[in-house]
């Protein structure tokens, strides 16, 4: 069964979504991330969506749910690299992703998660 790989960097989990996920794959990722947060004692999750040229409401909700679940498990989530056309489309769809922190790129995302000073 195909899975999206999750990398570890210290107490952080890193996911780069590079494929157009079908719904089941997205749900599997959600499950895998929450399991790993618990298993690794992670306190941060970075999701890189810079390769995604489509994010519909299902994927959007999956991202929102993942962040919410991570938060319950005391881990912070940052989503990075959203493409402008994706952002405009999500706004039009009315999906606010409130409760999900975002950053322009991996570097800034990491800074947010590690509480560093660079902005």
């Amino acid at each position: 069964m195909e899975r999206i790989p999750i990398l570890t960097m210290g107490k952080l989990l890193l996911v780069t979504i590079q494929v157009d996920m079908h719904d089941r794959l997205a749900l599997t990722l959600q499950d895998d991330l929450t399991s790993r947060i618990v298993k690794d004692g992670a306190n941060g999750v970075l999701i890189d969506i810079s390769s995604l040229d489509v994010v519909d409401s299902f994927i959007g909700r999956m991202i929102g749910n993942t962040a919410a679940m991570a938060s319950v498990l005391d881990a912070q989530t940052v989503v990075v690299g959203m493409q402008p056309s994706v952002a405009i489309t999500l706004v039009e769809l009315g999906l606010t992703l409130s409760g999900v922190r975002t950053a322009l790129n991996v570097e800034k995302g990491m800074a947010l998660l590690t509480g560093g000073g660079a902005r």
Partner: protein, 146 residues
Amino acid sequence: MITFDPSAAYAASSPAETLPIRSDEQIVRLRQFVREKAVAQGLSLIDQTKFVTAASELARNTLIYGGGGDVHCTLVERNGRRGLKLDFVDSGPGIPDIARALSDGYTSGSGLGLGLGGAKRLCDEFDIRSAPGEGTYVSITKWKPF
């Protein structure tokens, strides 16, 4: 029973291509297909993304609420402008209150709405016909501006 009538398509510049929507993977396949067609018709990146996203929303409805169905893709033309039209057809339970379904947005936070209002906003033209027991037909069109 609501069916798709290809001759009703305004000024089709090609016969319709039909894709089945009966699984998750087919929704992904549809997204890629629509992206290719949108690129071929010369839509801008943002218009492509909006239309592909709308198609994804409607395809998911067709699969989950409609029990599976088909989508017909037609390249269209009007007054020298090129466009792309998608017709989603299923023979599922149908939508009892279309007006309400259109007003349900994800801003309500429930996440269970049909996403029709959102899909409509992303397209230039939107048409829906549905009745309980008669299935659902949704049509969306996006035009390339000059």
